[in-house]
Amino acid sequence: MTDSIVSFSGVTYAYRGDWLQRIQALHAVDLAVPTGCAFGFLGANGAGKSTSIKLAMGLLTGHQGDIRLFGQPIGSPALRQRLGYLPEQPYFYENLAVGEYLDYLGRLSGLERSGLTAAKDRVYQLLDLGDLRGRKLGSFSKGMRQRFGLAQAILHQPDLLVLDEPFSGLDPLWRARFKDVMALERQRGATLFFSSHILSDVEDLCDHYAVIDHGRVLEQGRLADLFGQAPLILTASGPAPAEAKPGAEGTWTLEFPEQERAARLAALPTGAQVLRLERHRLGLEDWFVARIRDVHGAGKRLGDDV
């Protein structure tokens, strides 16, 4: 897994609950985030996304299994110089101003005073924080804190950007800006590893994904491969096979998986005229909901069969 910038091998982790109770949060998690990719980490609430991220950041300890960053075991402070982290719903010291806070965190990340000014100017520009540089963070709204959170994460131009629900609390305009900034960071050469509930954003940004549920990784891979699994839809006219569905103006449609393409086309009735053969547009959100429901029935809509 040397080409993985983040890797989990058989990672198991349990929280301490009340008294002697242990709450199993992760079960033998295997995860590999390829270097240079944009990786979407998907899962329902409480699935284990934030726990996995916190373990990788070294904020939680006591796990079993192997976690590596940049191919090396976590724990070395030097590794953390190369990563930027935006926690879920971040909070910051209330009495420090934006500029002071960035100075503080930048210096902790190893930036020299000379480089700090340029680094701050860059994030001021990217996240429109220039006019707020003298304002204390205690007066910030949730969305503004999120903007500052991303600013501090990218301040030192890290090689790995770990973002836990980066779009939380943002209006549509700032969601779009965040996507732009994340795309720019990727262009710069950073690997993006982020969790999100807003799957359309994951779809826009990511090329790799993993789904975690109840502390188990259900699947992971390339998003293109996932979309490649979407069924084909054949639209034709003339004689129709028995399983075809009638369409408009004498046409009919037939849905079948990619693997059956050749057999299905060969088996069309004589005289059938193919009008279109296209891939069904798979929405990540629909796929995700179906995938999670398949496993344990989470998030069933009211009125659905139980």
């Binding site: 950041m57 070294g58 939680l60 926690p87 719903q89 909070y91 002071e100 902790l108 190893g110």
Partner: protein, 252 residues
């Protein structure tokens, strides 16, 4: 380097907090009003005012230390402000030591401000201002720093509210320990051993109380002052070390 960066930010955050500024204002008001007690006192009014001002400095200093010390690390954990710090090349022990040093610097600055204000007011009211008072203020500062370390340690082991209660209980017990030698002859063999053992687990805060000596200009030995200084520094070191050991294992 990391420690000084953390300490610097902690200092700025602490001296700007409402609790810190509010308690300084309360000290200023109480110090000004203390002269009234001096006027109505049947004994030397200046001595009473001086004693009151020094006592206020100690009491308010300890309250600030306990309030900010208990919030120092637990609030960081609860509000997750430390996530963006510990995800950088910062070890947990550096974070704790930096936080304590930053808080200690803020508390020392608060004590200096209170001492300046208090002594200036005493001078304005005509009370005698001399070097012993400065020494008493310095030793009060040391007491406040020990209390900050106590609060920090309790907060690592419990919740902020419980830590505040335990911190104030330690303050009371720490001053009670100073009276232990006078009580020893009332205790029997086994009780004496228990009392001495318990007393050794609590910092003797009486070692930092120089108010009477300063107000009445009683003789002071340099050796004693240095010994008490080292005693205070040792307790701070021990308590911060315990805090580091606990925080290193803490799940954030």
């Amino acid at each position: 380097m990391i420690i000084t960066i953390v300490a610097g930010a902690t200092f700025r955050e602490a001296v700007r907090s409402r609790a810190f500024i509010g308690l300084l204002i309360i000290f200023a008001i109480c110090a000004l009003l203390s002269r009234i007690v001096g006027w109505v006192s049947s004994t030397d009014g200046h001595i009473v005012t001086t004693d009151l001002v020094l006592s206020l400095q100690s009491l308010i200093g300890v309250l600030v230390a306990v309030a900010t010390g208990t919030a120092l690390v637990q609030t960081e954990i609860q509000s997750r402000t430390l996530y963006t710090i510990l995800s950088r090349p910062v070890e947990r022990w550096q974070f704790v030591v930096g936080k304590f040093l930053g808080l200690a610097a803020a508390l020392a600055a608060g004590q200096a401000a209170m001492a300046l204000l208090g002594l200036a007011w005493l001078w304005v009211t005509g009370a005698e201002v001399h070097g012993w008072l400065l020494l008493a203020c310095a030793m009060t500062t040391l007491e406040v720093l020990v209390m900050a370390a106590v609060a920090l340690c309790w907060t690592a082991l419990s919740s902020p509210l419980l830590a505040a209660v335990l911190g104030l209980a330690t303050y009371a017990a720490g001053h009670a320990v100073a009276s232990l030698p006078d009580l020893m002859h009332h205790l029997k063999g086994g009780q004496q051993i228990v009392a001495v053992t318990l007393a050794s687990l609590i910092p003797n805060l009486g070692e930092f109380t120089y108010r009477n000596q300063a107000v009445y200009r009683l003789p002071l030995g340099l050796h004693d002052v240095l010994q008490h200084l080292l005693y205070g520094v040792a307790w701070c070191g021990l308590l911060v070390t315990i805090t580091v050991a606990v925080i290193r294992r803490k799940q954030l």
